[in-house]
């Protein structure tokens, strides 16, 4: 990094149905985002960009998270995943061990952004 060059904000992958992405974009405005409306698009983004963490929106089907985790294992192993889920949505017992953090709705204001910052802070 050149001296005096401002450090770019962390690059995040946001996976979710197109209609669900605006709210996540607003919440994560302080981060650089790559949005993916499908798991195929997410896999492409993982290959193409230095993604540091992935965020899954509340309306993304559970199967998408499973596919995303598989893609991360193949392409960019070890990056954390934060999944916003409905209050009573199912959660795979293996997710926690795979580095998935589940945020259950209703979320506190800024909880997603603070979570991303704190999770990325673990890696400093």
């Amino acid at each position: 990094m050149a001296k005096g060059t401002p450090r770019r904000s962390p690059l995040l992958l946001v996976l979710g149905p197109a209609a669900d992405l605006d709210e996540v974009r607003r919440e994560l405005a302080s981060f650089e985002l790559v949005t993916a409306p499908s798991t195929a698009a997410a896999a492409s983004a993982l290959r193409a960009s230095p993604i540091e963490a992935a965020v899954v929106s509340a309306e993304a089907p559970t199967a998408w998270i499973v596919e995303l985790l598989a893609a991360i294992d193949r392409i960019r192993p070890g990056i954390p995943v934060l999944a916003v889920r409905h209050r009573n949505a199912e959660e795979s017992p293996g997710w926690r061990a795979r580095g998935v953090g589940v945020l259950r709705q209703p979320l506190l204001p800024d909880a997603l952004a603070r979570s991303v910052s704190a999770v990325l802070g673990l890696r400093t």
């Binding site: 450090r7 209050r87 998935v100 945020l103 506190l108 704190a118 999770v119 673990l122």
Partner: protein, 481 residues
């Protein structure tokens, strides 16, 4: 690289703590010495707390720059400390000292409102650089104008007392915390509870109100917890209770001190474990909701009388909002009247423009023991009976009478004695005797009308004291006592 640069700055400036206080809350066994010593090395004063109660009382002792809370304190304690800190100052960052580097632990802490998460053992320089970043951000955010303005959710008024309430609502509503609302009847406890819900993260879910004084123990428990099929005669199918109905949202329990102590114990378990069993059931039902409780009782009295369990009280009182009676925010009365008239016109198609200055004077002089609710009822009654666009003082004649009544207890009107509600039997007797004496030429005649013996009348008058005797000019001086 930037973090290392920041660390060097931190280390060079050894006094940026400036003597400010930091709370470090962790169980006795937790290894947090490095946290305390790192903060002390840059000029912070450290208050160490090993229990939730000690942490809360430390927060209450005065301004705090930041709170560091070990995750080992438990999620309930963390949520409580975050909420109390927010009520004192929403810019106090609460940093969780984590037990692990698991992403889920981080997320859980953030969902309780933490500002950052540092797993133990923590590097000294990393701790200081992150703390400084948070404190710089807090300093930049301090003094921002409150976003919650009078009018929100029907909260009317701009007095200092109501502004303090609005500030509390704004600070507390960011969190999914339980709240205790105190205030006399009619001060608007449910309105404040609804405002907390509407402003907070649970606003997309239900707000479920319940008055605990209106139901007996069994019916109340059935309402709260629901029941399983066959739990009792007539339980033909499973019924979900209000805890399940309010899941994700807010349950408002009004008149909590009227709840049976056994039911209070069950409520406490729900607050502490977020789970309960339906009546007649064995399976645990998990819920995620905020409970807002309210009471108009004097709490020390309710506690000493056993009406309110101490353990429930201490769990609920962590975040408390005390609502002022109307007599302590009289400057809000004109705005309240305007709001009530506008509401009346809207609901009933009325054309009331306002009230006359004389009527306003009467209203301002009245103490309003029934608070805003009483004022609203009085304005609505006056609006209904008003024959013109401006409500005159005649619509509030009873207020003048009652106000005078609260000072002298009664107001003689011709041959009648008006007694204020709340008068004692002794007050009533006294006023009847004095009013009769004023209207009869002699005491003997008054005693006859009252059905008393003359000696008994004298005894009573002596009991009323010299001031009363002076108020009866027809009494001979030698008989005044």
């Amino acid at each position: 690289m930037q973090d290392r640069h920041r660390c060097r700055i931190v280390l060079r400036n050894r006094t940026w703590g400036g003597g400010r206080r930091c709370v470090v809350a962790a169980p006795r066994a937790a290894r947090v010495e490095v946290v305390s010593s790192a903060l002390a090395s840059v000029g912070f004063r450290i208050d160490r707390a090993t229990t939730e109660a000690a942490a809360l009382s430390t927060l209450d002792r005065g301004p705090v720059a930041a709170a560091f809370v070990a995750q080992a304190m438990g999620p309930l304690a963390l949520g409580t400390i975050v909420a109390r800190a927010a009520q004192l100052d929403p810019e106090i960052p609460v940093i969780v000292l984590g037990s692990s580097s698991a992403v889920q632990d981080v997320v859980d802490a953030m969902q309780h409102g933490a500002a950052d998460y540092l797993p133990l053992p923590v590097d000294r320089d990393l701790l200081l650089s992150r703390a400084r970043a948070l404190l710089d951000r807090a300093a930049a955010a301090a003094g921002a104008a409150p976003s919650l303005q009078p009018g929100f959710m029907g909260i009317v008024g701009s007095s200092p007392a109501i502004r303090r309430v609005l500030e509390s609502v704004e600070k507390i509503s960011r969190y999914k915390t339980n709240v205790l609302i105190l205030g006399e009847s009619g001060t608007g406890k449910e309105i404040i509870a609804r405002a907390l819900h509407a402003k907070g993260p649970r606003r997309q879910h239900l707000f479920v109100p319940l008055n605990c004084a209106t139901l007996g123990k069994e019916i109340l428990e059935n309402e709260l917890f629901g029941h399983e099929k066959g739990a009792f005669t007539g339980a033909n199918e499973r019924k979900k209770g209000l805890f399940e109905l309010a899941d994700g949202g807010t349950l408002f329990l009004d008149e909590i001190a009227e709840m049976d102590p056994g039911t209070q114990a069950k409520l406490l378990r729900v607050l502490e474990r977020n789970e309960f069993r339906r009546v007649g059931g064995t399976a645990k039902v998990k819920v995620d909701l905020s409970v807002i409780a309210a009471t108009n009782r004097n709490l020390p009295d309710a506690l000493s009388a056993g009406k309110l369990r101490e353990d429930l009280y201490y769990r609920l009182k962590v975040v408390t909002i005390a609502l002022p009676p109307l007599r302590e925010r009289k400057e809000d009365i004109p705005a309240l009247i305007e709001a009530f008239i506008a509401d009346f016109n809207r609901r009933h198609g009325g054309k009331i423009h306002g009230i006359s200055p004389q009527a306003l004077k009467l209203i301002m002089e009245y103490p309003w023991p029934g608070n805003v609710r009483e004022l609203k009822n009085a304005i609505e009654s006056a609006a209904i009976l008003a024959g013109r666009e401006t409500i005159g003082p005649e619509a509030f004649a009873e207020l003048a009478a009652a106000r005078h009544g609260t000072e002298t207890r009664t107001v003689p009107q011709g041959d009648a004695v008006l007694l204020a509600v709340g008068s004692t039997i002794a007050d009533a007797e006294r006023e009847l005797i004095l009013a009769t004496l004023r209207r009869r030429p002699t005491r003997a005649e008054a005693a006859r009308v009252l059905g008393l013996g003359l000696r008994t009348l004298y005894t009573k008058l002596l009991g009323y004291g010299a001031e009363t005797a002076r108020a009866l000019p027809e009494l001979p001086a030698r008989r005044r006592a």
